[in-house]
Structure formats: C-alpha cells, structure tokens
Amino acid sequence: MGTSSDPKRGDSATMQAPLPVELQGQIGQRLREAYIELINEPVPDRFVALLQKLKQREDEQGGGRS
C-alpha cells in the first residue's frame, strides 16, 4: 500500500527483484479479466465497412496501390 516511488521513471539497467510467482499470478488474473472484457466488446461496423472499402478501392484500381 501507500504511495509508490515514481514508477514512471525510466528502465535503468538495474533489475528489480522479480515479484513472487503467486503475486504475479494475481496480477495476471486481474489483467486478463480486464482485457477479456475489452476483447468481448462487439466490433463496430465501421471496421468491417473500412476493410470492404479498402478492398473495393483496390479492385477498382486493378490491384494497384493508391
């Protein structure tokens, strides 16, 4: 707990002692939970439309690049 010393300061060559595996596991679990929640969000239509547009544009240009 408590305020950490500034974690934003660079990555100097000094390697900090690795976190115990059990704690790594707890952090990893939270991270994956938070991340999976994001991955499970539905993909907005704009991305499907975008790729279709890119493909279409290329077909019109006979495979040429813009």
Binding site: I27, Y35, N40, K55
Partner: protein, 184 residues
C-alpha cells in the same frame, strides 16, 4: 505479395477485437483507440508488401498500432507539455457495469503505469506474446522488456497491496477464481 488472399480481410477483421483492447488499454480513450485501430488497418493494407508471408500477422499489426500511438504521442507532447498527466485515470472511462470492485481498483492502478510499462505488460501478460516477440514489437531489447514487465508488476502490486498467502484483495471485495480455488 501482390495478390490479396481472399481471407486476408477476414484475418484482419479477426484481430480487430485484440487491436481495440490493446489500443483502449494503452490510451484509455475509446474514441481515440478506434481511430488508432482504423489508422492501423489502413496502414497495414497499404503496406502489405512489407509483411512477410508466414510471419506473425498479429505481431505485425500490433507493431503498427503501437508505433502509430507513440509517434502521435510524441507529436502531442511537443504541442501540449503535460500530455502525460491526463493519462492516469482514463482506464476508468471503460464500461464498468459488470465489473467487480477489485477490477475497478486494478484498472486505476494500471492507468498509473507508464506507457512503456503498460504496453509490455499488455503484450506479454494479456496477449500472450513471448518476451522475444514483445521485444520485436516494441523495438526494445529482451532484457529491457523483462525489466519493464517486472517493474509494471511490482508497481501494480504496490498499488493494490496484494500479499502472499492472501488470495483476496485488501478491502475484502470479491476476488473471483483465486479465492474459490484457495478454499480448502
């Protein structure tokens, strides 16, 4: 590679959820994250010749995305001096309705990491890239990546106050699977 594979479109679309999750976690701003993903797809499409067939498409896309993000960030930093200060709490912008308290705390703590730490932790810890792949994506030495991942974990642990042998969060909130498993 001059001819597009028919399934390339499908492959690209298939990585969009991951690209969005990565971008969102990195910048904490859903609108900006989607713009980043869009830029990434456009760049990828127009640079497909630069992609070696048979190599890791996902890693290549992640490389494009993070390079785009960091070059934009550098540009912004030149314009606005304190761009960094606003990053801290943006993870909490994300939808929260089914989130447990400990996840809210986690997101907050994650938001306080540096961008360098965030990206490697996401690549290795969330996306499952190897340290070597993460090093390639971020254009850093493997040792640097390992050190950043470790620093990120140490910082998160400090912020969250996890203790060994104590499989629940310090405020007694639900801690999901870990706790259930530890019950004898």
């Amino acid at each position: 590679m001059t001819r597009r594979d028919d399934d390339l479109e499908a492959l690209l679309i298939g990585t969009v959820p991951n690209l969005r999750a990565f971008a969102n976690s990195l910048c904490g701003d859903p609108t900006r994250a989607d713009d980043l993903v869009q830029d990434t797809l456009v760049k990828a499409w127009s640079n497909l010749d630069g992609f070696e067939k048979g190599s890791n498409l996902k890693a290549w896309l992640f490389t494009i995305l993070r390079n785009t993000y960091f070059s934009e960030l550098r540009k912004r930093r030149r314009e606005v001096e304190d761009a960094d200060g606003a990053l801290a709490e943006r993870m909490s912008v994300l939808p929260e309705q089914h989130v447990h308290m400990d996840l809210v705390d986690f997101k907050k703590a994650f938001g306080s990491l540096s961008d360098d730490q965030k990206e490697v932790l996401l690549l290795v810890g969330a996306e499952g890239f190897s340290y070597e792949e993460a090093a390639e994506i971020t254009n850093a030495a493997v040792g640097t990546v390992k050190s950043r991942v470790n620093r990120a974990r140490v910082a998160l642990n400090k912020a969250l106050g996890f203790q060994e042998g104590e499989n629940f969060s310090p405020n007694g909130e639900f801690a999901g699977i870990t706790r259930a498993v530890s019950r004898g």
